[in-house]
């Protein structure tokens, strides 16, 4: 795996749960639907990433609620939506993310090194 892709995977791993909770917050979604919502925002699953084990963990931790319903003409799917604990975790996580992002930006923003193409 290329270095850039590997770093992106590592960065994403730390916040993918927040991203999933965020796209669920827009409306209940099943697995592939969440992948599409993420991809529409430029967040492709890369490297070792897969949302299914993470959805399992969110479910185990009580951060999501699930129910089965028919999708658009397709078979019944398992829909996920944030529970109240999940909404709280999302709010706290986003706040932590902003603090971390601003701190990293403060360090990296002045860097003017460019890679010759």
């Amino acid at each position: 795996m290329a270095l850039g892709s590997q770093r992106r995977t590592e960065l994403l791993r730390g916040v993918l749960d927040l991203c999933l909770l965020a796209v669920m917050e827009e409306g209940p979604a099943y697995g592939y639907e969440m992948t599409k919502r993420l991809r529409d925002r430029g967040l492709a699953i890369v490297g070792e990433g897969s949302i299914y084990p993470l959805l399992g963990r969110l479910e185990r931790d009580g951060l999501v609620e699930t129910y089965r319903a028919a999708s658009n003409g397709g078979p019944p799917r398992k829909y996920y939506r944030p529970s109240s604990a999940g909404r709280l975790a999302l709010a706290l996580g986003v706040s932590e993310w902003r603090v971390a992002r601003d701190a990293v930006d403060a360090v990296l923003a002045p860097v003017k090194v460019e890679v010759a193409s």
Partner: protein, 178 residues
């Protein structure tokens, strides 16, 4: 991709995942893969590199759901105790050899400090730093090997004990089956 789902199903069966949950996960996965394929999205885009290792993927999913214990990195988990056991064994053997060398037979310490009247074997454990200024010294080029071995073996065993305890702490707890 039905082959991928089938391999996941086999792994869940092997791991003792209840049939109802295994069927539910397999059905969800199959539906998602089918929809992705219909939209021209590859399985790798949906599953990442897990697409090449259905067994690990299935175990990881079931583990994270709390249906089975979270699988550690299986290859690493298998290797680590072996390396640790080998290291511990080597340290223990070294300790035993050093102790036997010290306790039995003629002293083999090469750098020996003794007074003229002192029998040779009594002076064996005395390290060079405590050699009296006027003492007679029988010295050779070799170091006090037995004591060095003993010291190194004790340090190595202590380190091994620490590694074992940290390995024990890092093992995932067994999650109750749902």
């Amino acid at each position: 991709m039905s082959d991928f789902v089938e391999q996941c199903r086999r792994e869940w069966r092997r791991l003792g995942v209840p049939d109802r949950l295994a069927e539910e996960m397999a059905a969800d996965l199959a539906s998602d893969l089918k929809e992705a394929e219909a939209e021209g999205v590859s399985a790798e885009e949906l599953l990442g590199s897990s697409v090449f290792d259905p067994s690990s993927f299935a175990a990881s999913w079931a583990g994270e759901r709390g249906i089975i214990p979270v699988p550690p990195n299986r290859r690493k988990a298998r290797r680590r105790p072996l390396v640790l056991a080998a290291f511990t064994g080597l340290a223990a053997i070294t300790l035993i050899i050093a102790a036997l060398l010290l306790l039995t037979g003629e002293p083999k310490v090469s750098l020996v400090a003794s007074r003229a009247a002192r029998p040779h074997f009594q002076a064996a454990p005395v390290p060079p730093t405590v050699i009296p200024p006027n003492g007679q010294v029988h010295a050779s080029a070799a170091a006090p090997v037995e004591w060095i071995l003993l010291f190194l073996a004790i340090v190595a065993l202590g380190f091994a004990a620490w590694l074992w305890s940290s390995w024990g702490r890092s093992r995932p707890p067994v999650a109750p089956a749902q």
